[in-house]
């Protein structure tokens, strides 16, 4: 009974996911135009620190340049890995 309910829920989520995927595909065209038209390089997910707002074009030293001996202290620094170059 529980398993049937769970599978029914998963089926409903799958169908809803398909509809959402269609809507996202439609929005993707807009995202492509805005990336190209403004030359964007990063996702606007975290706006608190410049190295997590623009990890692709930030210096590796940026998290530590607030003052000499500064350590990285923004919460998002825990989620985002420093880019490797």
């Amino acid at each position: 009974m529980f398993l049937c309910l769970l599978l029914a829920l998963d089926g409903a989520l799958f169908l809803d996911g398909l509809a959402r995927r269609k809507a996202q595909d439609a929005a993707l065209a807009q995202l492509e135009v805005v990336t190209s038209g403004l030359g964007l390089t990063d996702l606007a997910v975290a706006t608190e620190a410049r190295y997590t707002r623009h990890p692709a074009v930030s210096d590796p030293v940026v998290p530590f340049m607030d003052h000499p001996g500064a350590i990285e202290h923004f919460p998002t620094g825990a989620f985002w890995l420093p880019p490797q170059r």
């Binding site: 998963d10 997910v45 989620f79």
Partner: protein, 400 residues
Amino acid sequence: MARHNLEKQLNILEYALSSLWRHRLKSLSVLLVFGAVIFLLASFQMVTQALSDKAKQVLVHTPEITLQKMSAGRQEAIPLAYGDKLAGIFGIRRVVPRIWGYYFDEVRLANYTVMGLEVAEMPEGARLDTTLAKGTMPRPGDDAQGWAVIGYSITNALDLAGRDTFSLFRPDLSLKPFVVRGEFSRDTDILTNDLIVMNLADARDLFAIPAGLVTDLCVYVANPTEIETIAKKISETLPGVRVLTRPQIQKTYQVVFGWRSGFGSICLLSALAAFVILAWDKASGLSPEERREIAILKILGWETSDILAVRFWESVIVSGLACLVGMTAAYIHVVYYAASLFRPVLMGWSVLRPNLHLLPRLAAGDILLILAFTVLPYLAATVIPAWRSATVPADSALGG
């Protein structure tokens, strides 16, 4: 023979189910804890995978080469004249200067991203109107000054619902006024949420950047397969410049959300710790009641392999259900609640928070990864002690 085996396995499965039901409280608690661990792992996997996917899709259109001037290990403004030095490199289609940076609003404690460029010079610049929820971008030849096109969160932060003008402070604390000319569609939130787009001259004025200097130069090449070659030539021509290529930027987003990040490691380590505790508990021996049950089954004629099969089916049922529950809960958490449990670390102290519209793509590989991290250790942790116990002579187990 095959039919006999199938019947035997079905009977064993029935026994395993009844055994789980007899210990329903214990089974349910294992299921819940196990489901919670899988929920944590699967949520992290889904969030990072959805974000990486989105980055992969959109960053195909990022500038082919971005040039930044480095001085004493730090980025600083790059002279416009550097663009002229690139004229001799064959294959460069155009060089577009940009002034961009961050504007910290001290009243709202929010960071805005200011982007100043001549949109008419950008590829697809003429189609930017299609990304606006309202208003228009300036047409080519339109020399209007003091306009801005803003992201959704800027409208809210500056409270621009009933008006279309706002002002920002220059470094000398004089005010620079802007007229809102358009607002980006909410569908583009993941890229434009905190953006204030304006023309190059206004951005120069706002940040008080001297004439002849810009933040970076976007280089577009005629043939995308030549990006690396042209980047190398640029590095040779302009030694003090950092050359970022499109593939490098795309690669950044394939590694920036990873299990090696602090938060990813915490998810992984907590799952591992849970399994170590579980395995320790199981491996340190079965309870006297369980030993007794196994001994009685052996006296009744069950073989060691049958007892192992019972334990195997019990583990498969518990771990399979936990996996299903955990992954379903993780999907609901990520898609319908926008990964709200992770937002404190994903967005931190950000004041402007975009609507991410996360939609993970559940590939077989991701499911197998989660299964490998969770179900397989559980199977090993339950079957091995059962095997150790089942090989003990029944009379000693009962007598002990």
